[in-house]
Amino acid sequence: MSFPITPDRDQALPKCPSGIQGLDEITDGGLPLGRTSLVCGGPGCGKTVFALEFLARGALEHGDPGLFVSFEERPGDLVQNTASLGFRLPELMERRLLTIDHIRVERSEIEETGDYDLEGLFIRLGHAIDQIGARRVALDTIETLFGGLSNTAILRAELRRLFLWLKDRGVTSIVTGEKGDAGLTRQGLEEYVSDCVILLDHRVQGHISTRRLRVVKYRGSFHGTNEYPFLMDRRGITVLPITSVGLDYAASTDRVSTGVARLDEMLEAKGFFRGSTVLVSGTAGAGKTSLAASFADASCRAGERVLYVAFEESPSQIFRNMRSIGMDLERHHERGLLHMLTARPTLHGLESHLAVAHRQVREVRPAAVVVDPLTSLLAAGSAADVESLVLRLIDFHKSLGITTLFTALSPHGGAPETSVLGVSSLIDTWILLKDIELSGERNRTLHILKSRGMAHSNQVKEFLITEAGLRLLDPYLGPEGTLLTGSARLVMEARERSEEQRAAGEHQKERRRRERRIGLLRARLGALQAELRSGSEELDELDRMETNRLRRATEDRAAMAKSRHETGGKDEHGTER
């Protein structure tokens, strides 16, 4: 067996790993080695599957041969009924790792007279154990003996002897028991099995079923005492040790993109903290899924795995819708980065939803998980239950450093800040999407209500969902300081634009008027200059003419004097020479 039996009695109780997923975590290693454990519960609670899986896992994973003693179902039926659980029983039987022994107990065929014991059963068990060297034994369910034999005093004494005998044989065994009215089992088997008692429960509330497991008793060992949800499907039983893991997880300073550049900017230009919890809340059609998908898209583009839990839409519908706004999620899906988990909220109980998501997270190991929308779970449980679920989910994801984005639907009319369950205090970054109705149309806005550990923008942005993706526009404040969106924004912008154009035109006109005036002045200046020029020329001409006249007059006088001298010797003016 995988766990050595330690001779030291002070040591912790040696355990036998059950191989049932999650159970060994709760029980700190498995069932008590070499002892008998009681697994009890009502009809259909999964006792038989539990016992069979204990043997099958022991055989497959630890090479422990197992003996299954069925007091009810025939081996053929058992194999058939559990074929869907993937235990490969026929193969195990062929390899002599498993024996299924059917013991028929029919009261109508048996008469009792005088003293007897169950040595026949002991011999039969012992023989079967010896044949394959069984280390694990399951008896399902031993209580059937009470239906077949009437002397309960003998039966009780023999059962007590049986459990001691099993212990002496050193086999780790499981006995199953049907839930009784008074005690855990009809025949009070829990009185004989003192080491470990596990209770299975299958509850149906409002047509929604949830399976739960509880370790009622585990002598000498630490064990979780809560009720743990478990799943029973093609992978057998999966117990989900989901409890609040406490607050000791490390806070990352690493950042992850929101997928919307402007939104990253609003978050210190870096995006969400890795491992943080993000809530996107808003009314119907406010763009929650688009924003969630955008985050998933960005993470996948960064090469990280994302688990997308969708409660309202099928994967293909989400792919189609997101393709219309420029996001190719299908590509990520095909590359194995994007894992889709879709389920109707009412498919099973809350705990089962959590369990499925939990298991998926363990398998996929995503960097981010999207739950869209969280509020759908209210169809499967009360608000208090959903809150408890969210708390455990957040703790679980934080402990693994997974960034979680929830979307939540807020009813129209109510204050969206208060209507989102009671989980807001658990949220690190809360993005609020709103519809604003103005001028006969609805437009989307986005703002960050809070974001722990960072200086985030407090502006309300207009949130546009376009064919090319998601866009945020700066706030546009109208004349009264109100936020304008959509057409109102366009109208206001157009009005401003035309005002601008008018002013520009006015300027041009004035400019041209001034230019014209300058032109006129220039023209006048030219004319005056021309006039000035001609005036000067006339003046010069005048001077030239005068000079000419004077010169001619002098010449004339000289000529006259010359002629007088020749005749009288004196000029006519009487002037001396």
């Binding site: 013991i103 008469e111 007279t113 003293d115 014991d117 040595e119 011999i123």
Partner: protein
């Protein structure tokens, strides 16, 4: 008493030489010799020696007596201390009263 010609084939399962086993063997022999003289055969199976035989007749209790013949197969467990009960269980008395 019982129908003539009926041959009784009986098998008694015991486990070792325990007081219960010995008592059952003694009680069975007594009843058979008294009621079925010459028309019975008893096979005693000691499961302590032949543990593989416990499966064939789904033997849990020790001692277990099986009536293999005449049909149908009947099963009585215990030390066969109460003769009346054994007779009833194997329809010996019932038949004899019918015949009488």
């Amino acid at each position: 008493m019982e129908q003539k010609g009926d041959f009784w084939e009986l098998r008694l399962y015991v486990a070792g030489q325990t007081p219960k086993s010995l008592l059952a063997i003694a009680n069975l022999r007594k009843i058979c010799e008294e009621r079925l003289a010459g028309r019975f055969r008893i096979e005693i199976v000691d499961l302590a020696r032949q543990p593989d035989r416990a499966r064939a007749d789904d033997v849990l209790a020790i001692p277990t007596l099986i009536r293999r013949l005449p049909p149908p197969i009947k099963k009585i467990i215990g030390t066969l201390a109460d003769e009346e009960k054994v007779l009833l269980g194997f329809n010996m008395k019932h038949r004899s009263e019918d015949d009488g």
